[in-house]
Point group: C2
Chain length 318, copies 2
């Protein structure tokens, strides 16, 4: 029975490229598509065997480690990962590191001992990198090492889109609330766009304790120290929601007195009043790519980063 590796060898491309042809994803030249298709026919290769052979070599468990299960972003990731994992016959083992590097390390040990088929890592701890040897692993929305493939969204583009939109809506003085290192690129894109068009802006940084408690109330008060501020870009919908609450408390009308853009586009953004304008992260597609990377695992292939585009969804807060 031919495997995806046989197809890759015969057509002279990587396993990842074969998988891309099979799933019709990403940019591929017509020449590559033709070579791969010919190899598939020549070898009588059936792609459904992929998941099955993977399951037979190891358990059919896919591990996922998240920093928090209460944050709506990770709930939506787990929802999407479960969906794509189960479509490949994989079961999702959910681990909550609760932002503890030690708990994260223990979970990685446990997942290896349980012979999982792979791991989707949604935590930042670089100290765990050495533990990841011999385990198919992919990081979601963060890069921890050049040895570990990362699936991320285009955070720089997201920051630019948010700034451009607020400026187009006639805002003249902006604030961004930025999280930890995984949102740095959002801040960079935002700052660059403001500088291009000479719009004054300020960036407020959240700390770990605020993320742990999902409570940014104190930090948000700093927005109001400058009464000229008329637009806010928050690096998550959770933060944006609390900016809405703070504006209501201050008696500021949204979007008349203050325009607000979030990031993530989780369910929450449609549940608040006013509904939140936000940068849509392609969570479905990110998670699909993550599962696919595990399914197509190839020790020898390049550990490239896959970057997916984002888009702005305008609702009532701008």
């Amino acid at each position: 029975m031919a495997t995806i590796k046989d197809v890759a060898e015969l057509s002279g491309v990587t396993v990842t490229t074969v998988s891309r042809v099979l799933n019709n994803r990403g940019y591929l030249s017509e020449k590559t598509k033709k070579k791969v298709s010919e190899a598939i026919i020549a070898l009588d290769y059936h792609p459904n065997e992929m998941a099955r052979s993977l399951a037979q070599k190891q358990t059919s468990l896919l591990g996922v480690i998240v920093p928090s299960l209460l944050h709506p972003y990770y709930s939506e990731c787990i929802n999407a990962l479960e969906k794509h994992a189960s479509s490949h016959g994989l079961k999702l083992l959910v681990c909550n590191a609760q932002r503890s590097p030690q708990k994260e390390a223990e979970y990685i040990d446990m997942l290896k001992a349980n012979k999982v088929a792979g791991l989707v890592l949604c935590t930042n701890s670089r100290s765990s990198v050495r533990l990841l040897a011999n385990l198919p692993v992919v990081t979601l929305e963060r890069s921890i090492s050049s040895n570990v493939p990362a699936i991320v969204c285009d955070n720089t583009q997201g920051g630019q889109l948010a700034a451009r939109h607020l400026i187009a809506q006639k805002c003249t003085n902006l604030v961004m609330i930025s999280g930890n290192r995984s949102t740095e690129e959002r801040a960079n894109g935002f700052a660059k766009m403001c500088e291009q068009v000479h719009i004054p802006y300020k960036i407020l940084k959240t700390n770990q304790s605020q993320f742990n408690h999902l409570d940014y109330t104190d930090l948000i008060q700093e927005i109001f120290t400058d009464p000229a501020v008329d637009g806010v870009f928050a690096s998550s919908d959770v933060i944006a929601t609390q900016v809405i609450q703070a504006c209501h408390k201050k008696g500021l009308s949204i979007p008349e007195d203050m325009k607000i853009v979030g990031f993530d586009d989780v369910e929450l953004s449609r549940m608040v009043s006013p509904r939140l304008t936000t940068i849509h992260q392609p969570i479905e597609e990110l998670c699909k790519e993550a599962v696919q990377t595990i399914i197509d695992w190839d020790k020898e292939r390049g550990k490239e980063q896959i970057i997916l585009p984002v888009r702005l969804v305008q609702r009532e807060s701008t």
Copy 2:
């Protein structure tokens, strides 16, 4: 090495009772506590062996089947189950039945084939009951059979508390938005309280499609057909949040023109504006009891229902 069963035998009580003494949970007479404590000392019993022996007989996987991973209530359940499972050395296998009885049945088969230590079932499908034989299983916030232990909150009390609070806040005409059968008791408690004090009320029933899409917008419009309505009790915080949005759209002030009470007390209730008054479900305790019931599993014991009390948390929506 003494087991929890030896302690139960020597002290003449059930395994569940021993576990309750060890964990200091529920009502216990001083006499029972003394008997059990004496047996523990006499046998030199170490309760930590419990989880370990369980893990050695089977895998240390705990399955959980939920109807939706996007509904914040189930995210919080998974958060709490993961916490209590991992404190007993159990790993959480998360399955999303996506409200399909067939998917639910397939997951139960899969979990049995994977020799899980137990299953926490958060779905309603009664057709699955026959599949559950020989599997330690507990249902959370629903009863599906007298053969399956159920951990629930006091939903009747919750409905009563909501009605009593709205009436105390001078509401004179109430609407409740009630979900499927698991919220029937909330509706009964609510109705009973309204009838006791002769306050007019109406109950609107949601359908499955609304739950599937987490979108109750059309149903909520029915509240406004009677302009006398000045108080709403929603059977989930998700529904209550959409009532807030609808009131904002209609130009009604909360709480001046309309008072709103939710149910669940998930994070969302603190994130909306105004913050939501709601009935607090003890999700932490419910999940702790569920995991404990699996840990203490005893085929022969009575399949009792454990009912935990709820309380009202007043915020800004009343």
